[in-house]
Assembly symmetry: C2
Homo-oligomer: 323 residues x 2
């Protein structure tokens, strides 16, 4: 245990080169319609987006399930980003399929089709090589499964995840048992209001920090994000894009950039272990990854994105927020 | 004309002690109902809020019209903030009255009553002592009246103002003639979309900057504000309040803080005369004043607010946005 941050960070940084982030969640095919076009079927899923975004910062080991129809080119995209797919189970049947359509202003979306397929029986078992890794990001799946993954890990340094309205409403006790063990919870503003029962975000955050996590990140879509800790908070506006082609996965990419940066730096979130500005930088990298995600359909932006593009946009954030 | 900012600013600063801001707009009585309470009748109006907010930064000379019912204690509140009321005409009849009710989340409001009363014949004539002042803020009134006030000024250094959906929709040509002569336009996001015809704010801003103003400030309510210039932009998230008692006047207080700070510093907005960070600080002071406005009903917060509170909140903005 240390609280002198500067002295502590250097050895951890060197060590971090060998450390991986475990990402758990859906790997899917998506059909998406936005005002800019219509794609019938393309690679998607929370774990896919989180993993791709995080892969620019740290080694990612994926945990998920796909069917026989999972294409080699999609597998290649993931391994091309250095991902370990030992934990990506392939079983008879079809891959999870989701289809949705966005409103003209992209602020609402309607689900047209959800075929869980092989994802209905997802019961994540971590390969031995995954269990002693220090970072764990639990994508939005049933809280009991998130909890089971957490229990399979030994000595995890930092664990956090996402959830959604469905689990908050119908699996509340299970969800509370689960997030009690997390360092951070990363949800959107309406989920934060629903989980806490408070409309005001400051009050909502205070109630959620009482549930266990020491850090809450509230995603606000085009309006940016807020990170809350007991003793401070950090706010960033959303990046202004000239065109939002497809917002699918942007929240997951935020999560990937956020934990990816923390993993790259070898940080944990315990009180006294990390300073507020480092937390702010993690939120900025999350915002950067979310903004890139919207620039093309599905995961297409990650086919060409380079780390230098990411760092350039990080500097842009500094330019348009400094005063 | 100068472009070396640092050398130029010092003499202007000294000179600014004698310079005033002219504020034009409605002075009214408001009836307001929010989830926190109901006030039947209290001092309100755009010029009132703008003037009060700006008075913490610079000398304010008010231009408006009130009826015989305008109370001495309300006049005293304004003069108590150092305001010159020579331009506040008092005529037979009643003062403008507006009544509205806010939704539970305070994001919507419904107008219940609008009695223009003496405001229907408002035709601002500037007292001689107002005409050579360097700063002019035109609150939301009919564009032709805003233009007539601008025309009565000699050698104004910085002029900007507000407008609303009604003028954008039904008085478009008159409005375009008016804002063509302004340095800045300060409106909310839905007005910016309506005026420009673009949903995307970057595109909307670019179209509006083509209409004349070199600076556009878009207010986004609880989500903060964005300042656009041709070569840069600045974004700030909204201040998180634990309670919003009454958002009436918050946008006007933003305007007052924004131009008040520029007047205090002796700035103008011409390209090359002001640096991006100074503009950012003006937006922050606008945000600070808007946030204080919401903390009590009507203008009540300004009965006790001190400049040191304002500067303390400015520092808070720095703390929760720096990374």
């Amino acid at each position: 245990m240390f609280s002198g941050k500067e002295q502590a960070r250097r050895p951890v940084l060197l060590e971090s080169k060998r450390m991986s982030l475990i990402v758990v969640g859906s790997v899917a095919y998506d059909g998406v319609e936005t005002p800019h076009g219509n794609v019938e079927r393309m690679l998607g899923g929370a774990a896919t987006y989180i993993g791709l975004a995080a892969s620019y910062f740290t080694k990612v080991k994926l945990v998920g399930i796909v069917g026989e129809d999972f294409a080699k080119e999609d597998r290649d995209l993931l391994t091309g980003h250095g991902m370990d797919l030992e934990g990506l189970e392939q079983v008879p049947g079809k891959t999870f399929f989701w289809k949705g359509v966005y409103s003209d202003d992209m602020n609402d979306r309607t689900t047209l089709q959800t075929d869980l397929n092989v994802f209905a029986d997802f019961n994540p078992k971590l390969p031995e090589s995954y269990r002693s890794q220090p970072y764990l990001l639990l994508g939005n799946i049933q809280p009991a499964l998130q909890r089971s993954v957490r229990a399979q890990m030994n000595g995890v340094r930092l664990v956090g995840g996402d959830t959604m309205n469905y689990w908050i409403a119908d699996y509340r006790d299970e969800l509370l048992e689960t997030i009690k063990e997390w360092d951070f919870l990363l949800i959107n503003d309406s989920e934060a209001r629903m989980l806490s029962g408070h409309h005001n975000l400051k009050r909502a955050a205070s109630a959620i920090l009482d549930m266990g996590p020491n850090t809450l990140v509230i995603k606000r879509g085009e309006y940016g994000a807020i990170l809350f800790r007991r003793d401070s908070h950090f706010m960033v506006p959303g990046y202004l894009l000239e065109e939002v082609f497809d917002p699918t996965g942007a929240g997951d990419c935020f999560a990937g950039g956020f934990i990816g940066y923390l993993a790259e730096k070898g940080c944990d979130l315990k009180q006294g272990h990390i300073d507020r500005k480092e937390l702010g930088r993690a939120v900025i990298y999350g915002s950067v990854m979310g903004s890139f995600c919207c620039e093309k359909f599905g995961v297409d932006r990650f086919r060409t994105l380079k780390r230098e593009d990411i760092d350039a946009r990080f500097r842009e954030f500094r330019e348009f927020t400094e005063f």
